[in-house]
């Protein structure tokens, strides 16, 4: 079924096998496409490289947030125990960094873990409650037995006829235009 209502936002095409999907991803990458995605029922080895995906910045986000959590934890304990309400415990100094390590470590881990979850969702633009590709009935098979490529028309290289012929040349079938 070709959806015609609304503005076209991209195309989807079906491929026969993981290998041909991988090849299509490489061809799109080499042709300079950026805003496209591959959909398959299972992860395909080497797909990240084939699509030309760069390494996710998530590690840096997590690292910075963990550092922020740890220093915040240490600062919090220093402020509460040594500045705002100094209180002698077991005759130890007000700023007993040894005792502050567990909370510092814990807050570092906590903020790092939260940043990992939220950062992962944000970088994947999730939650996304709807996407126009789901207008295509055929596309639903990607989670079961189909191998699909979707290309968004917002891509700089996108051209309704040229992109179509590129997809066909690498073995894409059942090419559909997607409208919002």
């Amino acid at each position: 079924m070709v959806t015609t209502s609304g503005n076209p936002v991209g195309i989807v095409a079906e491929f026969d096998s993981p290998a041909s999907l991988l090849h299509a991803a490489e061809s799109l990458r080499d042709a300079g496409y950026r805003r496209f995605d591959c959909h398959s029922p299972f992860p395909i080895h080497g797909m990240d490289r084939a699509m030309g995906l760069r390494r996710s910045p998530l590690g840096w986000i997590v690292g910075m947030c963990a550092l922020f959590g740890a220093s915040g934890g240490l600062l919090l304990q220093w402020w509460t125990s040594a500045v705002d309400y100094p209180f002698v415990i077991s005759g130890k100094p007000f700023f007993s960094y040894q005792a502050f390590v567990p909370v510092t470590f814990g807050l570092g881990v906590l903020l790092g873990a939260v940043a990992a979850v939220i950062g992962m969702l944000a970088l994947s633009r999730l939650p996304m409650l709807h996407h126009p590709v789901f207008h295509s009935d055929r596309f639903a098979r990607f989670s079961d037995e189909g191998f699909f490529v979707s290309i968004e028309s917002s891509d700089k290289r996108f051209d309704s006829t040229e992109t179509r012929s590129l997809i066909e040349s690498v073995g894409g079938r059942n090419i559909e235009t997607i409208a919002d």
């Binding site: 590690g59 040894q98 005792a99 390590v101 567990p102």
Partner: protein, 394 residues
């Protein structure tokens, strides 16, 4: 050094084994001189070098059992290297004899007259006595020997013909072995290192000693791989992906070491009971304070920030440097565990420390290298070997 293409055996054994044996013999001769000149220094220095290598060898035994238990594929190409290291258990058992000879120089509790006037030692004498000490030592070595031999032999036998039943057997040995390993290493650490200060106790001490040993065995595997790679052996089979994974394990167990070390320290610091804090106090006197801080920063803080990134773990020059540094830190760690009982005013490095280290290192490297050259240096018939060579990190 060259590799036979189909059997994966080292064709022309390099000079490693011979040079190591020479170093071992020279070191042994120097150590014997040291024994006659200053026997307490000799025995303590010997214990440092001995436990340095013993924990490394046992770390490799743990590594092999762990890989069997989790069914790891990436590490199969490295397994024979770890197996060769762990097969040095018989040598470690033989090298334990000087520790037994030096018992009276090393362990205060082994003096009957000292125990007679010391209430705490008298109460502990049911456990800490010479006979039971020797019996326990024999049991530890028996367990380690049987485990390492069974795993090594099953693995080598598999080279000629793969057999799923044998693989399952190695997994079963590892499962039971893991429990035996935990008990024997804990008690061995209590007996051989913690009882140097027989009044002091810490239940986590065995885990602390184990964590350093596992870390050093992982960096030792890395160093052997790099050494062979420079000579063109297994340079295609062991890829950057493997070094990356070894780097992750190095990083993880370095943090684990720090975690355990701090867990031990925090509770003792918090409770502030003199009979417990005395052990740390002894390591804060004079230059021991500098060594303690060197461990905190050199064994954890600085390597943590150096090795945390992905590019660092995939950089072979960086990994080699860090591996050598962490091995040195492992030696400092054991020096720090043992020596304060002898040099109470501060660290005092002696040439005997170097001589004993040279002796045991030479003999261990020679022994391990001989094992490595005796059979294929990868488990050639393991059906997952190809997969192990080709894996990539996401």
């Amino acid at each position: 050094m060259e590799l036979h293409e189909t059997s994966y055996k080292l064709k022309s054994p390099s000079l490693v084994g011979r040079n190591a044996l020479m170093a071992g013999i020279i070191g042994s001769l120097l150590s014997i001189v040291g024994f006659f000149l200053n026997s307490p220094q000799f025995f303590h220095a010997y214990l440092v070098a001995y436990t340095f290598w013993l924990t490394l060898v046992l770390g490799a035994l743990f590594f092999v059992m762990l890989q069997h238990l989790v069914g790891a594929v990436w590490s199969i190409v490295l397994r024979r290297i770890a197996e060769s290291i762990m097969s040095a258990v018989p040598l470690m058992a033989a090298l334990f004899i000087p520790v037994l000879i030096g018992m009276h120089d090393l362990y205060h509790w082994s003096h009957a007259d000292a125990v007679a006037v010391d209430h705490v030692l008298k109460a502990k004498s049911a456990y800490l006595n010479t006979t039971f000490f020797i019996i326990r030592s024999v049991v530890y070595f028996a367990v380690w020997f049987l485990l390492s031999r069974a795993l090594y032999r099953a693995s080598v036998q598999q080279d000629s013909r793969f057999d799923h039943i044998r693989l399952a057997k190695m997994k079963r040995i590892s499962a039971a072995g893991m429990i035996l390993f935990a008990l024997t290493t804990t008690f061995a650490a209590f007996d051989w290192l913690m009882s140097l200060d027989p009044h002091w106790y810490s239940t986590i001490f065995g885990v602390y000693v184990f964590s350093g040993g596992l870390l050093s065995s992982i960096v030792a595997i890395t160093l052997i791989c790099v050494f062979m790679r420079r000579r063109g052996v297994l340079s295609k089979e062991i890829t950057h992906e493997h070094y990356h994974d070894l780097g992750k394990l190095t990083f993880a167990f370095m943090v684990f070491w720090a975690y355990v070390a701090f867990s031990q320290y925090l509770l003792i610091w918090y409770a502030n009971i003199p009979e417990e804090t005395i052990w740390y106090h002894a390591r804060w006197i004079g230059s021991w304070k500098a060594i303690s801080l060197l461990l905190v920063f050199g064994h954890f803080v600085v390597p943590f920030f150096i090795m945390i990134t992905r590019p660092a773990k995939r950089n072979l020059a960086m990994m080699t440097t860090m591996a050598l540094w962490l091995l040195f830190m492992h030696w400092v760690d054991h020096y720090w565990l043992v020596m304060p009982t002898l040099h109470q005013e501060g660290a005092a490095l002696s040439w005997i420390d170097v001589a004993t280290m040279l002796a045991i290192s030479g003999l261990c490297v020679w022994f391990i290298w001989r094992r490595l050259s005796a059979n294929a240096i990868v488990p050639v018939s393991d059906p997952r070997l190809a997969e192990s060579m080709e894996f990539t990190n996401v």
